[in-house]
């Protein structure tokens, strides 16, 4: 057993740190550090810098633009990015649709779509869920009916994260309703500018229109946008789900949040002349979640090590999703506790670019309640934590 980095790995870590220091745009860093809302352009700009460096898609095969790193290097890179506060590339293109395209798409599709994803020229969104197909995704009803060399798509997708920015959407659609529900689903790429598509925003608890409903009314999609075989979409989506579990535990992110939290607590008066960090009740909770994240980190490292010797990440990765999201949510609770009265004001404009006045309530703490509300989504999406526990019960424990 050995969890130490080699000399080369340490060298690599240094290189990543220097790169972030030099290349992560200062204005974006300022926003991240001060809880100012990031715009589409911030993501795109940063991703293009990563692209130029050749580091934007560590998990892709080298032939399509991956880095060829070993799992330890990928781990180091993700950790350093997270600890520095640099955003991971938006997942929908880079981590969700691209692997499906390079694994199951034809040569024409790979050439057509992958370079633009890699270069962040095109923003993708995910069109899986529907109003009545949430946890039971396979019951989805949006139809795609073949008409000559087109599919005609009708139905409603929902919860489409950042669909308002998207140029393209990848959808699971029903192409056969006479068979078992999983067997009549296809994977279709759709240009958001196609006539008949309507995007309506859904406002979440923090007041932000983060997700959307996407309506398809007789949308004609060229048949060449079908990935792989008709009615095999469910298989493709599932393969993707088990393989794309990298950084699902969000350890770097949690570590950064904990580091900041520790600092905040050390600088937050307890109202009796000391600081909140002196309060043993608070200090205990902070230590407990710190320990939880440490255990999670090693659980993740063990999963990565198994993958590096050729094993596919198994249903154990459900652990990472459950514990990772719960840790994030618990950390959010502690931020509110540090904030006390300062978590209450809802003043979104002070977290937008260009706001120059003095903020109501202290620093980033003023958004802590909204962050808490918003992050309740984490145990709901990406396969709810209940569904993950069902997976463990069945696939791991054999119940």
């Amino acid at each position: 057993m050995n969890a130490d980095f080699t000399a080369e790995e340490l060298e690599f870590q240094k290189e990543v740190r220097q790169f972030l220091e030099a290349e992560f745009p200062k204005d974006i860093k300022h926003k991240v550090d001060n809880g100012i809302r990031l715009e589409k352009d911030d993501y795109v700009r940063w991703q293009k810098i990563l692209y130029k460096k050749g580091w934007v898609a560590p998990n892709w095969p080298v032939e399509y633009g991956g880095t060829g790193w070993n799992p330890t290097q990928k781990y180091i890179f993700a950790m350093e990015m997270g600890l520095y506060g640099a955003m991971e590339p938006v997942a929908f293109g880079m981590k969700m649709v691209a692997p499906v395209i390079y694994s199951f798409g034809n040569e024409e599709q790979k050439k057509r779509f992958l370079p633009d994803i890699l270069a962040s020229n095109v923003w993708w969104c995910q069109g899986y869920s529907e109003p009545n197909a949430g946890s039971d995704l396979a019951s989805l009803k949006t139809t795609a009916v073949r008409d000559g060399d087109h599919y005609v798509v009708n139905g409603t997708k929902t919860w489409t994260t950042l669909g308002q920015h998207a140029d393209w959407i990848f959808c699971l659609v029903r192409t056969d309703s006479t068979v078992k529900k999983q067997e009549g689903i296809s994977f279709l790429l759709i240009d958001m500018k196609t006539p008949g598509i309507k995007v309506s925003p859904i406002v979440l608890l923090d007041g932000e229109p983060e997700v959307n409903e996407v309506h398809f009314d007789n949308v004609r999609v060229p048949a060449e946008n079908l990935i792989g075989e008709e009615n095999k979409g469910w298989t493709y989506a599932k393969v993707l789900l088990t393989h794309e579990r990298t950084n699902i535990a969000q350890v770097p992110n949690s570590k950064l949040k904990l580091r900041k939290l520790h600092n905040l607590a050390a600088n937050t008066p307890d109202g009796n002349g000391g600081t909140l960090l002196d309060d043993p009740m608070f200090a205990r909770k902070l230590a407990e979640v710190d320990i939880q994240v440490l255990a999670l980190e090693y659980a993740e490292l063990r999963t990565l090590a198994a993958v590096s010797v050729g094993k596919a990440p198994g249903p154990e990765s459900s652990i990472l999703k459950i514990v990772g999201t719960e840790a994030t949510q618990f950390i959010d609770e502690l931020y509110m506790e540090v904030a006390a009265y300062h978590c209450m004001p809802h003043v979104p404009e002070q977290f937008t670019e260009g706001f120059e006045g003095e903020r109501v309530a202290k620093g980033t703490l003023a958004s802590s309640a909204n962050v808490y509300f918003n992050n309740r989504k984490k145990s709901i999406y990406g396969g709810s934590n209940e569904v993950q526990k069902n997976i463990i019960s069945k696939a791991v424990l054999g119940l």
Binding site: S129, N132, G134, S135, D136, S139, T158, W159, I202, V203, L204, L205, G207, T268, P269, D270, G271, N272, G273, D279, M281, F282, E333, M336, E337, A339, A340, Y341, H342, C343, M344, P345, H346, V347, V360, A361, K362, A369, N370, Y372, F373, N374, R376, K377, S379, I380, Y381, S384, N385, E386, K389, N390
Partner: protein, 377 residues
């Protein structure tokens, strides 16, 4: 032993319940929140007409009686509808301070107006660094001839935007954390030297950060004896704590009811999600939490109405707030989780109940604060 309401309390509950059910639906509430003031004058006037604004006050001051159980009855029903009118800042906190500290003339001038619905008040006590310690007061009041001059900044002043008058907690002597030397002043909200930064809280309630710069207040506007206001402030905040505890009990009941209903109707995998035992047990746990929260709030209300010592009363309130706070986390989070994605949208009422109860958890001392206060009292 008798846990039943008196006839009067039963009538009070019926009338508030009827109002909330028939006149305070989610869309109406949203309309009120979106209005300039953030609440409804019409509703407020109705509260006055129906006598609910007299509930916090003693009979000798012209009120309904001022019992904590009465207050609990009203607040629980308000909680079910997430009523946003400033009953607590005006009636319970400010009204409580005036009742405890006011001279005959001050009471005469203020209590009647509150009960009639014509006077809005806000008590400015919290400060940026005070956390939940009511004795941590850095705002100063310096005697200058017949006046006091107030300087400092108050945060999270509930109903600050609409208040006609502010009750400002300031230090007339002593160091920042001393229990002695704290005074309360009645200050006109439009007085020279007051500037307000108004905002909406995450639960929709309006509040303000209030800056006082050389604000001149006549000595006659001192509420109670100079430097001796802390016990009354603690008692008023304790009553408000009980009030929001009862409100949370009502709101959590709504959350549970809505969650159970939803679980019976939402279908996934061809069945209602309420058939999954994983969810059933969690709804059972929500029910248990609701029952324990209700029980401990009743305990605290009865204690406040008893002849117990000041310390015993405070301890009972802290017990209630601590336990209700734990229930809030559990019930709030489970209600959202069991609803799934729909509950994190602004469109559904569930998320708004969740926001309100979460705010209550952090109002007037969070769970840790009250747990420790309970241990030390």
């Amino acid at each position: 032993m008798d846990f039943s309401y008196s006839d009067e309390q039963q009538m009070l509950q019926d009338s508030v319940q009827k109002f909330v059910m028939s006149q305070y639906d989610f869309d109406t509430r949203r309309k009120y929140l979106e209005s300039e003031k953030g609440f409804s004058d019409e509703a407020w006037n109705l509260f006055a007409e129906l006598g609910w604004l007299t509930v916090p006050f003693k009979e000798e001051d012209g009120g309904f009686g001022g019992s904590a159980v009465d207050l609990m009855v009203v607040m629980e029903e308000f909680g079910k509808g997430m009523v946003v009118e400033p009953f607590i800042p005006t009636g319970v906190i400010s009204g409580g301070l005036i009742t405890d500290l006011g001279s005959a003339e001050q009471k005469e001038a203020l209590i009647g107006a509150i009960m009639e619905g014509s006077l809005q008040l806000a008590t400015a006590y919290a400060e940026a660094d005070s956390r939940y310690n009511l004795a941590a007061v850095a705002t100063t009041a310096t005697k200058n001839g017949d006046d006091y001059v107030l300087n400092g900044t108050k945060i999270q002043v509930l109903n600050g935007p609409a208040a006609d008058k502010l009750l400002v907690v300031a230090r007339t002597s002593g160091g920042q954390f001393d229990r002695d030397g704290i005074s309360v002043f009645i200050v006109d909200a439009a007085a020279t030297g007051i500037s307000k930064r108004e905002y909406t809280n995450v639960d929709g309630h309006r509040a303000a950060e209030i800056h006082l710069k050389d604000v001149k207040v006549a000595a006659s506007e001192l509420l109670g004896a100079e430097g001796a206001a802390l016990p009354a402030l603690e008692a008023a905040i304790d009553r408000a704590t009980l009030a929001v505890g009862a409100e949370a009990v009502g709101a959590m009941d709504s959350l549970l009811k809505k969650t159970v209903e939803y679980a019976k109707t939402r279908k996934q995998f061809g069945v209602a999600i309420g058939t999954f035992q994983a969810l059933q047990h969690r709804m059972s746990e929500m029910f248990i939490e609701c029952q324990l929260a209700r029980s401990i709030v009743i305990m605290a209300a009865m204690k406040l109405d008893s002849s117990a010592t000041v310390q015993e009363k405070a301890k009972a309130v802290s017990a209630a707030k601590s336990r209700v706070g734990r229930a809030i986390r559990k019930v709030g989070q489970e209600a959202v989780q069991i609803h799934g994605g729909i509950a994190v949208t602004d469109e559904l009422d569930v998320g708004h109940y969740f926001k309100r109860v979460t705010t209550i958890e952090h109002l007037f001392g969070n769970t840790d604060f009250h747990t420790l206060r309970y241990a030390r009292l």
